[in-house]
Symmetry: C2
Subunit: 614 residues, 2 copies
Amino acid sequence: MNRYNTVEFQNTVLSGFWSERYNMIRDTTIWAVYNRFVGTGRFAAMKMDWKEGMPNRPHIFWDSDLAKWAESAAYLLRMQENHKLERVVEEFIDDIEAHQDANGYYNIYFTVVEPQARFTRRVDHELYCAGHLIEAAVAYYEATGKDRFLKLMEKYADHIERVFVIDGSASFKTCGHEEIELALYRLYRCTGIKRYLDLSRFFINARGTSKEDYYDFAGARYAQDHLPVREQTTAEGHSVRACYLYCAMADIAREDGDAELSRACDAIFNDITERKMYITGGIGSSAHGEAFMKAYDLPNLQAYAESCAAIGLIFFAHRMNLLAPNGKYGDIIEKILYNGFLSSISLDGKSFFYENPLELDPYLIGRDTSVKYGGTRMPITRRQEVFGCSCCPPNITRFISSAANYLYTTGEGILYINQYMASATSIKTDGWDASVSQQTSYPWDGDVIFNYKGQPVTLAFRIPSWCENYKITLDGKDAAYTLENGFALVKTQGDACVGLSFDMPVTFVEANPAVREDCGKCAVTRGPVVYCAEGVDNGGQLYDLKLDITSPVAVIRDEELGVMALEIGASRRRVFDALYRTVGDDSQNVNVKLIPYYAFANRSECEMMVWLRY
Amino acid sequence: MNRYNTVEFQNTVLSGFWSERYNMIRDTTIWAVYNRFVGTGRFAAMKMDWKEGMPNRPHIFWDSDLAKWAESAAYLLRMQENHKLERVVEEFIDDIEAHQDANGYYNIYFTVVEPQARFTRRVDHELYCAGHLIEAAVAYYEATGKDRFLKLMEKYADHIERVFVIDGSASFKTCGHEEIELALYRLYRCTGIKRYLDLSRFFINARGTSKEDYYDFAGARYAQDHLPVREQTTAEGHSVRACYLYCAMADIAREDGDAELSRACDAIFNDITERKMYITGGIGSSAHGEAFMKAYDLPNLQAYAESCAAIGLIFFAHRMNLLAPNGKYGDIIEKILYNGFLSSISLDGKSFFYENPLELDPYLIGRDTSVKYGGTRMPITRRQEVFGCSCCPPNITRFISSAANYLYTTGEGILYINQYMASATSIKTDGWDASVSQQTSYPWDGDVIFNYKGQPVTLAFRIPSWCENYKITLDGKDAAYTLENGFALVKTQGDACVGLSFDMPVTFVEANPAVREDCGKCAVTRGPVVYCAEGVDNGGQLYDLKLDITSPVAVIRDEELGVMALEIGASRRRVFDALYRTVGDDSQNVNVKLIPYYAFANRSECEMMVWLRY
């Protein structure tokens, strides 16, 4: 048995901030994505009757899009009955059952488009798709207790074992896009069948050990294939692939007590969060390969910071916290949750960003005025309903529908409170029988009333890294606590009411001097929320704004966006005609309105900046 | 006869700053480029015996490379006998004579590679090459009085007239890369044959009037083909092509007194210099098509600012000044001369920049660590001896070998002093019989002693736009002068000694608030010279430097570079480990050394920045 375990989401009923997101996913987004997947022929493709020349040619990653949607549906079904939703998933499983090969193989593209090419090209996402199907099957079994889907996927996993390990008939050893590794571990945890653990370990150990074929445009580093995993110390290549691999590495490190693998995970986690992560928690700064760049190379305007990569880093941090609980993991998860992840979905829940830049300037779109193609690449300025490569939308739905996963970790006699979300949770596993609740307006203020009912326990509250001053009370009195690895440890004798009060002033943050793009600039934050300026509030040419960080900041409710906004003094230069002139001094004072980064691009197409001059 | 005329370079003997450059071209660069052109098979290609499968496949623009080299040689020969150089040019002409078609056609590529494709593809530089050959022929005739080359090129021009106008058998009307227009005008000026003027006018008037084929990746705008020339008001597309067209438009406007064409030239010149020009005088900010971008879109790190485009803008400004003398033209020429043009050649005269960025950071090269190609494009950090597309090196040699062209313009009873260069000039044309000289250490100080010997005249001295305070004396006493169009007009009664003293303090310049990249930054200038910081003097991460523009600035001679350098107070943050932290205040004071921009990248591969925070 593992020492630390997740209190899984189904034990928690959310209220407040995250229940609003959860309800939006349940009532709107899950169907919005479903309709777009129907409209683009993804669901129809499962009938396996597509022929060359027909519209909606299946793509190599369609299985994974569908699987993540089904996984999202499973999470929703786990919380609440929904016959309509369950019927769709059952039909989805019907289609798989009807068209799965006798040997267990299942893949849309490699059945209707290139059946002869099965398991011959590692760059074509075949095992990645299998992994997502396996995750969906596990989720659906855990939600409904119905094991039909799970059995189909066990059969597929058995086939994969045969092809990759027993017969060795596949043309490659590891998939160009990781996912199968963590999925097999999850299948093992659900079924207890050790062969799936072994197969996961096999794929992890094989990576970086042989020269296999890569994408034309990318090298071994792109798929984390440059070194055996235990020798890797830096985050490299495609950031989603990377994080999915790191997740599986952390799973296996924990399962096996593999210290070498743990150390690699540690080093990589630190490399990401101390050198390659935006202040929003976004990662994978390069659009060229959706990949990590060099340390401290974090361009804002052309930040890629894919939504799936943000989710991937949460998954990784979550697993690191199960290896050895530390407040820094919850800090990173929190940073991503309220910023670089949440920006990926519109406030109405219907459209999505694939990329989450830290700066937008519509003027620069088409800046290369005389070329028809090949000009400067700029991120889109408005969220879209669907993408050709639509990995992000169903990743967002499956994430939010299971967001309560990140609240609590249990250890022996200790309950780690990793996140603050208004919620009620009952913990009835692993010898635990307790119920806890949080009353809070988090992230808009830092007060949390935490009620605990159950056996005597140590409560370990994460002290957010953004918080310099805080107060903890136990049953109305100053609590005695010790600090350990970013947690404040409060011992209770059974039922307890703990009051947490995290001071949440507006804070101006600077980046390391090695981050070229942020020099002379600051990001404005309040609690876990990173703010940005938008053109719709502040006019154009935001880059000429200069914040007065000594002026008082007003914190104001914005009803339209449903957020706490900020107002702060600043100056900007008066307009003049000359292209160049001797430095003048005729700037004017202005008030700048800042809104939470995650809420940008919900009103109009306009400029946006996180890092502002000061 | 035109109202204003150039005092051509052959009338001037340079001394001081520009004679050093001139001598370097004459003694080193002309041969360095020659040797590279021999080494790359360009000269050998003129034997027309290349066959498919042989090395050094001729390129469509090789004729123009060779022609610009020959034009450079002609300018040098015009100043000074040089048998070795003359012999090379004579052999070059021998080759042309031996291989020119009976009908006058001459082009290496379209003789040995694709003879069947002559005048069928406008994007393939055929008339561009012809134009450069014509310019070289004119220059060589003017230098030596020998008309063999000129006659060959007249024959070619006659053929072009036949194919494009009389028979109309060419597949297109205007060349995708302008140059023929200004060359034909020059041929007309040299020979007096009006048909060449008509042909130049034909090409100018045809542009933008029909849908012709473009490059796959670019539209009509790329070759200034989006509108008839008289309707164009903005600078668009490939910046070298653009400037060569604008030159010819200004030539024809002046020749014909064409007010509509003049107005178009005016509007375009202002669009370039008031909205699309770097502080170095560089233009064509986009590497995507070597082209103009939107107004005020002037990225520094990825500035393209091709050397040929800088030269092209000088050519254009020079012609605008002949249309209607104005100090602003000399200002722009001066800005380019000492900055964006001069940066294109190494201090030893042996290597060249094609691109002249305003910021370099070697760390960013290969920033997309996992892709093999298709990553972020960055300019090279060191000058090279030759390029595959080697338009710049021989353009630089022909420019410097005729740089004295930009000194003086004559009008009726008025001599315009457009540039300040230590020099002696005799003016014996158009009824003029005068000799003038300048003693000055320009650009390192602003004192000029100007001696004039000749008939009574008005001397019009350009007051540099960077100069706020100046003094003018006439024969030792304060001079009476009037200001007109950027010139100070001093009347003389014959021989005169005029003392000019332009205050040349270090000046901090800001860019228009619409220039996103320069907000919060300043450029440091002294007189016409723009300065930059280099890593070799100031350590890395120049972007974190913050100049103290109130601190005294030391002006110091740097013997290694042969320049006046600056030392100025600044601060930079102390190194810290965190990726992000609350804004601190532990910067340290440092001294920053600045060198003239044109001298960057002559010592080592390192960071460089023109626009610095302050």
